[in-house]
Each structure stands twice: as structure tokens, then as C-alpha cells.
């Protein structure tokens, strides 16, 4: 079953607007900059699709397009077969199906809201749950992300980076979505926290048959978590693969990415050996 389908998705930012926002000068008479170019993607139920590429390749823009945080220039985004820009698909209905976990967990949480309030909001807004049910579900959620009940009474500044990210994941799970997009969500965490959260995500996925779109520039992390990987380069999907064999890859950019992966593994091994 297809959860998410992208058909010829394109996002162009008019240069005039960009110039005004960032003080850029016109380049070669171009009227716009295409951040995402005719992207086709399909994500199945229970699948984890990795979206890798260097910074500025259009990965986060694509996530924002799926979440309707940016407007589409052309193409179609279908959620469960229905266009997200269709007359019956309002923003909140999109958020009921898709949730986004951002990179900066510290700024993703309201500084004055207790963890229990953060988790209660989606349950109250989407499912009209009553306080006793919310309390019960909050306890289940916080346990599901590997934290204990005492964390419900804490404020974001009392949590570590990994704990904050777990709370963000719990908040996303509270909506009971079909798909969660992780936009460089584990990038700022240490390797141990990353590994622990990856394991937790895999466990949750097995239990709830969730789909994940995992945006990262870390190919090593993608290898751990993803069933399939799409490589994005200068706004385009240049290659999609599911087998981690360099010999089968076609695009030079993917080869270059694999080279960094080998380097990374070598460096990590060397560091480990030193210790």
C-alpha cells in the first residue's frame, strides 16, 4: 500500500524574492532557482526511505513541501492517493497523516511547556481525548520512546539533547500518523544516542507498521535504518537503491557519497582502535 507518492514535484523560488530576502544579485538572467526538480518518489506502508544528499540539495525543501510548509510550484503530492492540495485535504488533515521531526529539538519544544502538555496537545486536538485518557496515553508514549513517567513533569531545559529528541518523537507518535519525516533529526546527537534512537524507531515501526522518510546527509545512518535510499543532488533524485553494493550504483555523485562512507568507517575504526 502506497502511503506517499510524489509526482514530478518541483519547487522554484523566484529570484526577485530571494534577492529581497537574502540580498542576492541576479545570476545569468535566471528568473528563479529550482530547489526541487521534477522529483518522483513512492513510499510504501511500513517502509523506511532514506533521502540523502549534501546540504542545499533540496532535501528539507522536499520535506516542507510534503508538510505544506512551502507551496508547490508544479507536480503532485499524494497522501493515501489524495492530493494534499485537494479541496478535501486541509492542513490539519495532512498533519494527521504525516508528522515531521525537526533537527533542532531544543527549538522544537516550547520553552515553557511541560512534556505532558507537549504530548497532550495532539491528542486533544486530533482525537478529542479526555484528560484521564490523555494521561494514560502520555505515559504509554513516554515509555515507548524509552523515558520514564517522571519526564512528563519536566520542562525542555531540564532535558538533554537526546531526551528532547525522544520527546519530539513521542509528540509525533501521539498523532498516530502513517508517516513520520525525520529531517536531520539525529544529526546533532552523539553516536550512542543515535544508535539507541535508531533501535527505538525500528521497534516502534515493527509494532505500528509506520513509514519513515529519513532525511540525512549521513549515509552510515541511512544504511542502519533505511530499506531504500534515494540520493538527491542539486534538487533531483539521481539514484534510488536498496542494495548497498557500490558496483551496482550508476551516478558518480552516489559513488562519491559511498567514498565518504568508507572514509567515515575507516576513521571511526581508527578512532575506536586508538581508544
Amino acid at each position: 500500500m502506497i502511503v506517499l507518492e510524489l509526482r514530478q514535484v518541483t519547487k522554484a523560488f523566484p529570484l526577485r524574492l530571494l534577492r529581497r530576502r537574502r540580498g542576492l544579485k541576479a545570476q545569468d538572467g535566471k528568473a528563479s532557482v529550482q530547489a526541487v526538480k521534477q522529483v518522483d518518489l513512492v513510499l510504501h506502508r511500513g517502509e523506511t526511505l532514506g533521502l540523502v544528499g549534501e546540504s542545499g540539495s533540496g532535501k528539507s525543501t522536499l520535506a516542507k513541501l510534503i508538510m505544506k510548509l512551502e507551496t508547490l510550484s508544479s507536480g503532485q503530492i499524494l497522501l493515501g492517493g489524495q492530493s494534499i492540495y485537494g479541496p478535501h485535504m486541509k492542513d490539519l488533515q495532512v498533519y494527521k497523516s504525516v508528522q515531521l521531526v525537526l533537527q533542532d529539538s531544543a527549538s522544537s519544544l516550547h520553552p515553557r511547556m511541560l512534556v505532558k502538555e507537549v504530548l497532550a496537545e495532539p491528542m486533544r486536538n486530533f482525537e478529542a481525548k479526555r484528560p484521564p485518557e490523555i494521561r494514560e496515553s502520555s505515559v504509554q508514549l513516554i515509555r515507548a520512546v524509552g523515558l520514564d513517567e517522571s519526564f512528563l513533569e519536566k520542562l525542555p531545559h531540564q532535558l538533554s539533547g537526546g531526551q528532547k529528541q525522544r520527546v519530539c518523537i513521542a509528540r509525533a507518535l501521539a498523532v498516530q500518523p502513517e508517516l513520520i519525516i525525520f529531517d536531520e533529526s539525529l544529526a546533532s546527537l552523539d553516536p550512542l544516542s543515535q544508535a539507541s534512537i535508531v533501535e527505538m524507531l525500528q521497534q516502534i515501526q515493527r509494532q505500528q507498521e509506520l513509514s519513515y522518510l529519513f532525511i540525512t546527509h549521513d549515509l552510515g545512518l541511512a544504511r542502519q535504518l533505511c530499506d531504500r535510499v534515494a540520493v538527491m543532488y542539486q534538487g533531483e533524485i539521481v539514484e534510488t537503491f536498496s542494495e548497498w553494493e557500490e558496483g551496482k550504483l550508476k551516478h558518480p555523485y552516489t559513488h562519491a557519497l559511498f567514498a565518504t562512507l568508507d572514509e567515515h568507517v575507516e576513521i571511526s575504526s581508527a578512532e575506536y582502535a586508538d581508544k
Binding site: 508538510m67 515531521l100 516550547h110 520553552p111 507537549v118 496537545e121 495532539p122
Partner: protein, 275 residues
């Protein structure tokens, strides 16, 4: 608040004390005033300060102390009414334009540019000149002049808060735009608005007194500091106390507002480091 006092912020303490004393004197005016502020007694004209008349009498033999005490009620309460009206108008406009942007934002920005292009006092005089002198017209004129400052401030603060990731998270948690503005944005911008208002109340008092001094605001025989100064101009050389005491009242109130506002501004209240 505790840390503020620990640092021996004498200026802040002085400002708060002065402000509190003035407001308290105004509230208790009917009990503290030694004479009826409107009672004319021509046999006691321009008396110097004495036991019976601590601040002396004016050209109609009225007790200056009583008029100053009742003047607090007039001047300060009008200032608070103007402040309240300005906030009532500019808070929704600032929130909506900052949050949604678009054409409405452009429209209000141009309107504000037009308003802010003229000096406050000149524009107020022009508006009162059109509407005609009087208590209500003065309030309308000052609100028309001051609202733009508040909209600009609130819009700027909203734009700053809007960049925070927790607003995206709030939206994805199913909150409506109205709820996000009320629950997420408003608490974040309340402190800077309070600081600005404290500083501004002094300016508003100066505007009220200035207009009344020119005969465009509160009309005699209402006890008001600007009106008292206006009445005193002809007798200043003969009886300087007639002008000195109302002048001191204005200076004290404006100074108290400045001391409080400046100190909070130095404390950088809009960036809470700890919750």
C-alpha cells in the same frame, strides 16, 4: 525578579517606588487633598506655600496641592486609557500582520510608514486641530499617533518568534492559527510589550500635558497638570510656585517610567535564559 533586587538596582527601585507613590497619591486624592481642587477663592490668589496651602494657591485661589493630587487621576488615568486603547487596536493588527504577512501586512506597513513619518506631537496637534479641542478628541488623536509604534513593535516581535521551530511543531500538533497566536506567541512577546508600554506611558503623559498646555486637550477647570502649567504661564514671574509644582509632578512621573523601562531594557527581558 529576585536577581534584579540582588544586584541593588537602585534606579529600578527608585522608579517603581516613585511610580507606586504617585499612583497611590492619585487613588487616595479625595482623602489626602486638603481642599476642594475646584473651589475658587479670590481673596487667596497666588499665595506662597504655607501650612494651610502646602504648594500655595493659583490665580483663582485654588489649592495647588489638591489640584496636583486630583491631576494624577486625570492625567495618569487618561494615559492608561490611551495605552489600553492603543494596545487593543495594535495587538490584533501586529499579531495578524506578523504571523500571516501578505497583502494585509503590506497595507498596514505603508499606513504605518505614513503615520510614523510625522513627529508625534505635530501629528497629534494636526489631528486635534481637525477634530477640535477637547478631552475625547485628544484621546482619539493620541491613539491614532501611538498605535503605529505598537503595531511596528508587535509585528517585529511576532516575526522574530515566528522563526522558532516550536511554531511548526505547534501547528503539526493540530493547533489552530488563533490558538498558536494566543498560546505560543503572545506569552513570548508579552514582556517586551510591557517594557515598551512602561516607557511609553511617560511619553503619553507628556503628550497629554503638552496638548492641554496648548489648550487643545483637557479643558479648564478640570485639574490636569498641563492645564495647570497653561494657567500658570501668565503668573510665573509673580508666583513661580504656580508653575514649579505641576512641572515637578510631570517630571517625577515621566522619570519614574523611564527608570523602570530603562532598567528592564538593560535586563534584556525579551530573552529569558531560564524558565
Amino acid at each position: 525578579m529576585r536577581t534584579l533586587f540582588q544586584k541593588k538596582n537602585t534606579s529600578l527601585l527608585l522608579g517603581i517606588s516613585l511610580f507606586a507613590v504617585i499612583v497611590l497619591l492619585g487613588l487616595l486624592a479625595p482623602w489626602l487633598a486638603p481642599h476642594n481642587p475646584l473651589q475658587v477663592n479670590l481673596s487667596n490668589r497666588l499665595l506662597s506655600p504655607s501650612g494651610e496651602y502646602p504648594f500655595g494657591t493659583d490665580h483663582l485661589g485654588r489649592c495647588i496641592l489638591s489640584r496636583i493630587l486630583y491631576g494624577i487621576r486625570t492625567t495618569v488615568s487618561i494615559a492608561f486609557v490611551i495605552l489600553g486603547l492603543s494596545l487593543c487596536i495594535s495587538l490584533p493588527i501586529g499579531l495578524l500582520t506578523g504571523y500571516f504577512g501578505g497583502r494585509t501586512d503590506h497595507f498596514f506597513m505603508r499606513l504605518m510608514d505614513g503615520t510614523l513619518a510625522f513627529p508625534d506631537f505635530v501629528l497629534t496637534i494636526a489631528i486635534v486641530g481637525i477634530l477640535g479641542p477637547g478631552f475625547t478628541n485628544m484621546i482619539i488623536a493620541i491613539v491614532i499617533v501611538r498605535w503605529a509604534n505598537y503595531v511596528r513593535l508587535i509585528r517585529g516581535l511576532v516575526l522574530k518568534v515566528s522563526k522558532e521551530d516550536f511554531l511548526i511543531t505547534a501547528r503539526m500538533s493540530g493547533n489552530s492559527h488563533m490558538r498558536i497566536m494566543r498560546r505560543y506567541i503572545l506569552p513570548q512577546i508579552a514582556a517586551p510589550i510591557a517594557v515598551f508600554s512602561t516607557l511609553d506611558i511617560g511619553k503619553i503623559v507628556l503628550l497629554i500635558a503638552g496638548l492641554s498646555f496648548l489648550g487643545l486637550g483637557v479643558q479648564p477647570p478640570t485639574p490636569e497638570w498641563g492645564v495647570m502649567l497653561h494657567d500658570a504661564t501668565r503668573y510665573f514671574q509673580l508666583a513661580p510656585h504656580v508653575m514649579i509644582f505641576p512641572g515637578l509632578a510631570i517630571v517625577s512621573f515621566v522619570l519614574s517610567c523611564q527608570l523602570i523601562g530603562d532598567r528592564f531594557k538593560e535586563q534584556n527581558v525579551h530573552v529569558p535564559k531560564e524558565v
